[in-house]
Amino acid sequence: MRLALRTAALGYLGVLVLVPLAMILFRTFEDGFVAFVESVTTPAAISAISLSLTIVAIVVPLNVVFGLVTALALARREFPGKGILQAVVDLPFAVSPVIVGVALILFWGNDGWLGGAVPVIFSLPGMVLATVFVTLPFVVREVEPVLREIGTDQEEAAATLGASRWQTFWRITLPAIRVGVAYGVVLTVARSLGEFGALTVVAGGVAGESQTLTLLVHARYIDDHNTFGAYAASTVLMGLALVTLVLMTLLERRRKA
């Protein structure tokens, strides 16, 4: 019985996840490693990788800073409307990425609420905003429970000993939540690299300029008819996903400890 269950579970996972992934790896490397490298070092590919990483480099600090502020506000303070704020933090999980794109266009676009006063759509700020939207909950949700758990005793003790608010934060609070922050950051990075739906709506999609790695995969497959190129770019993303997974697993252990 035990064996039957195990086989069923592993079989399901294997067929659903492992076999297709193995398929792509096989197709990517069946013509040799050099072909793969060539495909992912074209100017457009390098630009796409660089753009994806640039977006991550901007989104992560934003999410960490504002995520911490938000988590602190939610964990430490009582105020009217707190329930609403809690719900808003969770909103991005329930919103389809395409709707995120639509929302950004209707707010920041030329015919939007700001009348296009701030150039956001079709350029980097738009892509950053879309990515921040979808990754917003991660740091907050990882840090907030930890903040609640550790309570304010240590912070209060530090305060009575004369520490300034900043010193308290830096020396007491931050080290206590750092695994939570790290885990939130890893989730943010993974989600940012994978963003696609919102970007198809708000990104310029210009090869070599406003195309992220995910957009490149799609463009190569559909527009360029370059199936191999799409597989190769996907493999790069899979590699990045693998790194993320490893980090997630390691941090998961630290969290439990």
Binding site: L10, L13, F66, R77, A103, G112, T160, A241, L242
Partner: protein, 259 residues
Amino acid sequence: MAVVALPRRANPGSGGLVGVGVATLWLSVVVLLPLAAVLVKSIGSWDAITAPAARYALLLTVGISAVVALINVVTGTLIAWVLVRDEFPGKALVNAIVDIPFALPTIVASIVLLSLYGPRSPIGLDLYATKPALVLALLFVTLPFVIRSVQPVLMEVDREAEEAAASLGAGGWTIFRRVILPALYPALLGGAGLAFARALGEFGSVVLIGGGIPRDTEVASQYIAKQIEIDRPGSAAAVSVALLAISFLVLFVLRRFSK
């Protein structure tokens, strides 16, 4: 725990409120205001939801997401069970594999599934532009939700109750049904709800393998994207609001029942 009541530093006060203010401003600019723009834009265009293709897309999306959530309840519980109760070499690796859909970009999922189950399929199984393809893609991306929801609960389940039932002669399946499952209901509902909400809005993973055939395999997110492409923002906003309303409703209801 302080034995002596130490004087509190002025923790509440302007400093803390600035934090709340900043958080509110941040959430407003990034999330609330753009979503409000969608709501407002939809107000003139409600009839857009009645267009046959829009209705079909919404119904299809809800239906398929429900099916996927249900399948996940079964398979998710199974996999969580095996991960918690079973021991075998490589179990830690399998546990990590469950997180792959979290870490993998959705467009990669789509191309990965298409290579195996599309027109160039090496096993001759071409599911391109069929509803089963949609189910497949959605099962992929929603894999972790129920599993991760159930695992911690399963680990905490009171073994004594199980042993007592066993000593009274109950078989494995009965024990599961009567003792374990009831303890899992909240987690199952929560996980299923997350899976449903995720499937409802999914775009990247269905975009290549689903074919996006209107009134056949076009899901709501694809319909909305199309409305933007053909310059109909009102219609896009209206269908978006409909989709959001469904998500919120389901999540709200499930939150109630999973408490």
